[in-house]
Amino acid sequence: METLSSLVDGFAIALTFQNLILALLGCFLGTVMGALPGLGPSNGVAILIPLAFSLGLGATPSLILLTSVYYGAMYGGRISSILLNIPGDAPALMTCLDGYPMALKGRGGEALALSGFASFIGSFLATWGLVLLAPQLVKIALMFGPAEYFALFVMAFATLGGVSSTNQSKSAFAAMLGLGLATVGVDTQTGVPRFSFGIVHFYDGIDFLVAIVGLFALSEVFIFIENRHGSADASGKKVELGRLTPSWKTFMGSVPSILRTSVVGFIAGVLPGAGASLGSFLSYSMEKRLLDKNGTFGKGDPRGVAAPEAGNNAAAGGALVPMLALGVPGSGTTAVLLAVLLALNITPGPLLFANNPDVVWGLIAALFIGNFLLLLLNIPFVGIFIRVLLVPPRILMPLVAMVSFVGIYGIAGSSFDLIVMVAFGIGGWVLRKLDVPLVPVILGILLGDNMENNLRRAITISDGDWTVLFHSPLAIALWTISIVGFILPIFVGRLMPKRVKKVNKTAQEETAN
C-alpha cells in the first residue's frame, strides 16, 4: 500500500509539462538511436548525458530524459533488425532471426507492430516488477554494513563477465583496469595524491563521463573507420512493409509467448551481469524449444519476433532494480545511468529510497508514461524511424564524434579532457579488438572509490582485522555467489552459444557489404 501511494506521488512529479516533454524527447531520441546500427542504448545514453547537464536540468528531469532514451533504444533496436537484418543494438540480435524473414515475406509492418506490442507488454510488466521488487531489495540492503557492501561489489565484478565474456581472465583484467583508473587522484581518506604523476589535471581523478563517452561512443567511431562502413547505405534494400497491424489471430497466438518471456527477461535483467542481451537470447531459445514443432522458427514465425522483444524490454526494466536499490548496475546501460546519478551527486542504493523518494518514484512513474509514449511512437509513427535508417553511417559517425566532443567540452571545458576522451576511445577500440569487455572497465571506474572506502571502513571498524569481511552470513553468501559466479563459466562454457556469434558475424558482414 505504501508502495502504491509513493507511486501516486511519483506520477504527480512526472506529470508536469516539462517532464512530459523530456520523456517524449527521450523516447523519440532513444528510438532513433536504437534503430541506427552502431548506436545502442549504452552509447546513446552516454552521448546525451552531457546535454542533460548543460541544459541545467535537475536530478529527476535528467533521469527521466535519459531513462526514456534507454527504454526508447530498447524499442528502436528491433526496427533495423526486422527491416535490414542488422541489429540496431546487441539485444535486438535475436529479433533478426524471425523478424527479417517476416519482412522478406512482405509482413514487415506486421512484425514491427507485433514486436512493438511485445516490447510494450514486456516493459510494462517489468516496470511493475521494479515497483514491487525494488523496495523489498532495499529492505535487505539496509542490513548491509561496509563489509557486506564490499562483498556486494566483488560479486558485481565476479558475475559480470560470466555471461557475456568468453574469457574470465579478460573480464577480471577489465575490472582491475577500471578499478585502477578509479584510484587516480587525491585519496579521499588521507588526502595524499595517487598515480597523478605530478599532472594537476589528474588530482581530481579521471572524470568518469569522459571515460564513458570515450569508451562507448568514440570507440564505435573508430570501429567504423576501420571497416569503412561507408557503403552500407540502407536505401539499397527496401522491403515491403505490408499492413501495419498484426491480425487478431497472430496477436493472440503470441500473447502466451510474450507473457512467459516477459518473466524470463525480467529475471535475467535483475541478475547481476546478465542484462538485456541475455534476456532476449533466453526468451527466444525457450520459446523455440517450447513451440517450434513444425520448424517455423527462424523462417518468419511471429512468435519468434514477439519473444525476444518482450524479453529484452523486460530485462531493461529488470536491470534497473539492482541499480536503484543497491547502487550496483548489472549491465552496460545501467552503469551509464549510475554515472548520471553519481554526477548529479545522488548516491543510489537503499538510502536513495529514503532520502530522495521523489527521484525514485518520479523516475518510475516516468517509465510508465514513457512506455505508453513509446507504444504510440512505435506503432502509428514507425514510418518516421524507418526514414531515419536511411542516414548512412558515413554521415552518422562524424556526427556522433562531434556530439561527443561538444558534450564533454560543455561539462569539462578543457582541451585536456578532450584528449583524455580520445585516448579512452582508442583504448576502447584496442580492448574491443582483443575481446576484452568494456562494461567492467566502466563499472570499475564508477564503483572504485566506493568499493575502496567500504573496504577501509570495514577494516578500520574491526581495528585491522581482515577476517571481518567474512563474519556475517550475508557476507559469506555474497562471497560464495561471487566465487561460484566467477568459476562456473570457466567450466560450463559460455551461456550464449556459438550460434549467436554466428548470427552476429553474418549481421556484421551484412553491415560491411
Binding site: 546535454l51 548543460s54 541544459l55 574469457n167 581472465s169 579478460k170 577480471a172 583484467f173 582491475m176 583496469l177 578499478l179 585502477g180 584510484t183 585519496d187 581518506q189 588521507t190 588526502g191 595524499v192 595517487r194 598515480f195 604523476f197 568514440l218 567511431v221 573508430f222 567504423f224 573507420i225 576501420e226 571497416n227 569503412r228 562502413h229 561507408g230 557503403s231 553511417p393 558515413r394 554521415i395 559517425m397 562524424p398 556526427l399 564524434a401 562531434m402 566532443f405 561538444v406 567540452y409 560543455g410 571545458g413 582541451s415 578532450l418 584528449i419 580520445v422 576511445g425 582508442i426 577500440w429 579488438k433 582483443l434 575502496e452 577501509r456 577494516i459 578500520t460 581495528d463 585491522g464
Partner: protein, 143 residues
C-alpha cells in the same frame, strides 16, 4: 600471439602500478589500511589475470591492414588537433573541418564532405548553442 603480447603488456602495467603504489607517500593521519593497500590488491589481480591471458590466449583477432591502421591513426591525430585548436579557432570552423575530414574518409565524395561538414557544424551550433544555450568554444570570430 596478440593475446600473449597483450598479457605481457598487462603484466608490465601491473608491475608499474604496484611500483608506483609503493611510492605513494603515507600521511601521518592514515587509517589502518592506508592508501597503498587497495592499489596493491588491484595490481596483484591485474598481474594474475595477465598471466592467465598469456597461458591461455584466445584466437587471433582480425587486425586491420596497414592502410586501415593508418586511417585510424590519422583520425586520432585529427581529433587530437581538434581538441588542441578548438579554443583557438572556435567551434564552428574547427568542427566543420574535422567532420568534413571524417565523413570524407568514411566514403563521402570531396564536395559532399564539405557540405556534410558545414551542415554538421552549423546543425550542432544551432541546436546546442542557440536553442539549448550550451557554451561552445568561442574563437577569435566569436563562434
Amino acid at each position: 600471439m596478440s593475446d600473449r603480447i597483450f598479457g605481457v603488456v598487462g603484466l608490465l602495467l601491473a608491475l608499474l602500478f604496484a611500483y608506483s603504489a609503493l611510492l605513494i607517500e603515507e600521511s601521518f593521519l592514515s587509517d589502518v589500511v592506508g592508501p597503498k593497500t587497495f592499489p596493491l590488491i588491484i595490481a596483484a589481480i591485474l598481474g594474475l589475470s595477465s598471466i592467465a591471458i598469456i597461458m591461455k590466449p584466445d584466437a587471433e583477432p582480425s587486425w586491420p591492414r596497414l592502410v586501415q591502421f593508418a586511417e585510424i591513426i590519422a583520425a586520432v591525430v585529427a581529433m587530437v588537433l581538434y581538441a588542441i585548436f578548438l579554443p583557438e579557432v572556435g567551434f564552428v570552423i574547427a568542427t566543420a573541418i574535422v567532420s568534413a575530414y571524417l565523413t570524407w574518409r568514411l566514403g563521402t565524395t570531396p564536395i559532399g564532405s564539405i557540405i556534410v561538414g558545414i551542415s554538421i557544424s552549423l546543425g550542432i551550433y544551432v541546436i546546442f548553442h542557440l536553442a539549448f544555450g550550451l557554451s561552445l568554444a568561442k574563437g577569435p570570430l566569436g563562434f
